[in-house]
Amino acid sequence: MNSLAETNRFASLAAITGDRPGVALPTPWRGGLAAAAAWALTAALTWAWPDLTPWVRTGLLALLETGVALFLAGAALLGGVRLAAIHPYDRWFGALAAILSLWQVLTAKTGLLPLPFFPPPQSILEVYTDDAARLFESVWRSLVLLIPGYVIGGALGFLAGVSIGWSKAANYWGHPVLRFVGPLPATAWLPIAFFFFPGSHSASTFLVGLATFFPVAVLTASGVKGVNSAYYDIARTLGGSERFLILKVAVPAALPNVFVGLFMGLGSSFAVLIIAEMMGVKAGLGWYLQWAQGWAAYANLYGALIVMALLFSGLISLLFHVRDQVLAWQKGIVRW
């Protein structure tokens, strides 16, 4: 959207200076062409250079690389402003192609890096084609563990934070608890949680909730405490009840802080989720990692790590997206 505005600005600039009369043809995206060439070269390398010991998915890999090359070439020549958002990433596209080539040369093509620790990209591709069901199942199980715990922990943390930030009594009793217990990493509760809860699932939900609860509670409380007292003065003179002051003044004013807490809570809930899956739940991506390690299936290990990175960074992006919607009034806050 930004770059679109940029393009328009340049277009009108050109119109003013008159150095490009009439409707200009869209100039091809040069970086995109270069990246497309890099991907085409990588595809050629994958296809033409025989593997040391043949991998099943080398053909598919070459096909996918060709697909990326064609996409980039298309975007460069025909995409116009519609795909302008990806233009700044042309060097990244090129670099990825280079990395993929180098990786194959060092592994599948020459065997300079030893198996099983350094699987070639085609073997990771093979994980996605041949073990997709198990991976999907693991992603699903992880989400089922993560999301309820996160939502419950976040909601309770928010309520506790507002209470502690607002009420003197809640602060007197709650604040020392937050100070004392809060710094414990949620993973330290693991043995106790698995002992007290009826099943490993509920224990993990509790741990994820705990990991979310503390940062959200601490930051919400400090957000509510830090609200400009003039905001309250205004609402009080205008006849606002205590309920109005909390809901319409304290909470909206503290929301930026709440989102910082939610962000921190999300990060620590990822950590506790993976550990809980490894230690007790026997399902989910954490368990998949451990299972793969047990079989020395390093391709599966890397494959799962990539899925995990996509999943977690996707969740954080989602949170930031929600934040940007809710706090649209705020400008210049932390970018993700």
Partner: protein, 261 residues
């Protein structure tokens, strides 16, 4: 700009302060701010408070608004002791402090929302926005406004509630002189229409002379009443009127400016 708010309020509130003294406990000890302030304001009267910066004018308005309680003495409205804030006594703060998460319109609607009258009050909000010339910015966020626009929005946020007492803490301080003159005239017209009681804190001697029926002059901190001056001229007043010029000189002398500026 022919805009009025709703029907005139029943009547302006009267204000009584009796021997009001106030101080703040700071880390350097006790800071005396008000010293034996006794004022009577009649219902519907327009009174200006003049005094040097930091003498305690805003503090006095906060006491009358019911935001703080005086350390000594009594503050009352209609001869009833003030124990807390009330939407019949509204204060336009020195800083506009709009809620940054609300649009101008939502900021203006705040009081109606707080007292459960927001539904069906869109007309009233529109008129208040017209009055301060912000109708076109109803959907803007406070950080998109200039300082003067923010101050006008803060004025609308209070006026929309038809207060019986309007406490104004330098509400026009950040405005350019032209907007300032327009709003001064609007304020007089509004006051004549709605008959609320007005208490205006200002640094501007001319503004006090144009708007107020009575001017109370305070000493430097701790604020004591130095002098009260009646301004009998009929409204609308003209800033060049000779009788106002005479009063202006008198006031400047009371404020310690005996030399001609």
């Amino acid at each position: 700009m022919v805009t009025t708010l709703d029907a005139p309020v029943d009547q302006g509130l009267s204000i009584q302060t009796r021997g009001v003294g106030h101080w703040f406990d700071t880390k350097d000890g006790r800071l005396d701010v008000l010293d034996d302030v006794t004022i009577d304001v009649a219902p519907g009267e327009f009174v200006a408070l003049l005094g040097p910066s930091g003498c305690g004018k805003s503090t006095l308005l906060r006491l009358i608004a019911g935001l703080d309680a005086p350390r000594t003495g009594k503050v009352g409205a209609d001869k009833v002791r003030i124990v807390g804030p009330d939407p019949s006594r509204l204060l336009v703060f020195q800083d506009p402090t709009l809620y940054p998460w609300r649009t101008v319109r939502q900021n203006v609607a705040l009081g109606l929302e707080a007292t459960g009258q927001a539904k069906g009050a869109q007309d009233r909000i529109d008129r208040a926005l017209d009055l301060v010339g912000l109708r076109d910015f109803a959907g803007s966020l406070p950080n998109e406004l200039s300082g003067g626009m923010a101050q006008r929005a803060a004025l609308a946020r209070v006026l929309v509630n038809n207060p019986r007492l309007l406490l104004l803490d330098e509400p026009l301080g950040k405005l350019d002189s032209l907007t300032r003159m327009t709003l001064q005239a609007e304020l007089v017209r509004l006051w004549q229409d709605a008959r609320f009681t007005a208490l205006l804190v200002t640094h501007d001697v001319e503004e006090a002379l144009l708007l107020a029926e009575r001017i109370i002059i305070f000493s430097p901190r701790p604020a004591r009443i130095v002098r009260e001056i009646r301004v009998d001229a009929a409204y609308p007043r003209h800033r060049d009127a000779p009788e106002l010029q005479v009063l202006r000189r008198e006031i400047l002398v009371s404020l310690g400016h005996d030399h001609e500026l």
